[in-house]
Point group: C2
Chain length 239, copies 2
Amino acid sequence: MNPTAAILVIGDEILSGRTRDSNLHFLAQELARVGIDLREARVVPDRHAVIVEAVRALAGAHDHVFTSGGIGPTHDDITADAVAEAMGVALSVRDDARAVLRAHYDRMGVEMNEARLRMARVPEGATLIENPVSAAPGFSVGNVHVMAGVPRIFEAMVAGLLPRLTGGTPLLSQSYRIQRGEGEIAGPLSDLAAAYPDLTMGSYPFQQNGAFGANVVIRGADGARVNEAMTRLAALFPE
Amino acid sequence: MNPTAAILVIGDEILSGRTRDSNLHFLAQELARVGIDLREARVVPDRHAVIVEAVRALAGAHDHVFTSGGIGPTHDDITADAVAEAMGVALSVRDDARAVLRAHYDRMGVEMNEARLRMARVPEGATLIENPVSAAPGFSVGNVHVMAGVPRIFEAMVAGLLPRLTGGTPLLSQSYRIQRGEGEIAGPLSDLAAAYPDLTMGSYPFQQNGAFGANVVIRGADGARVNEAMTRLAALFPE
């Protein structure tokens, strides 16, 4: 069994329609590559109690929870506080995190003020996640991995974090394009899916030049089984 | 108080990284326009029990739940069954839904088979949501609005559905671009936010040509208050 995971995207700007999230899609692709099964995603606003509840629910249900957003220096950055509360541990400025920030600000010639120091606050027992873009670290506490919302920083943090986690069998998938409407292929496809309970088969309709078609995706951990099912699918619906 | 809402995106293809969802972002923008507050988003796989649980949780917590995906004719389209179970009502082929489909297939010269007839199954007491793209309707049952996952169809269904729902006060927002790092503006911004508890202020950092900056967004229902706070913000951080 592969480890399971959820992503929690935190930020009013996603729910208000101001910003289109890209971290969910990026993480989904990265996790598929290393064999961690992304089972759920949630987006919640910048509200302490809501974040605490979501972190608790997801951390209890999955092997890993990845969060995105809310770890900057401004008043609306409340993720660290909420995660610490959800995990039942204290939050305080830690020397190693402060040293990372101080070195960065020294290089840039700006002072370390109170707001910037907030970004050195880390829950007790956490492991830092490196931020090669703007220094302020993310952290892992228990099975919760807390990262920045800015896509470039989130992506860099994921690249640093994933090699630390134990993956599983990457999900293999093959896709087959069929130039018939879903209503036409649904019956035979359903029978095929029933014959391969160890695989999942998804049908994704499209319309092109007025004609209906569907991309059928077969996914599974065993490449030989995926091949076999794909061969039968192609025989059912020759090009 | 504005009505509240959640969106539930259903589909393995989003969590596997195959497809990047766009319905969440589209709906967020549309709801902001009509004054319905989107409070939460979830993405779940094509698993019956998981969908049932998510629909129940969200329908109990919000005035409206909008779902996307899983209402086509293939075996992986299980949303209607799951929503009917979550709402505790029966699901069966309904004459008006069947008539809509039959007219569409007659026009296209294809037969109404068993798979296509599945798309006429509607929970007891539901109201149909028109599908001007490919006929197969969505439906509203209780406070749950079930729509297709294909973006073009989802968007057309939302356009038909929203005028039926009672909106609230649209959230107004203004944005101000500040050419300083978040660590610099965080202190004064926090004081300003505390002085306007009826507004929300979000800070969204960016980096351009090596320099750090932030877009500060002030949101609220009262335009005069948003104006006033924005004037004070601009005075704090002149261009």
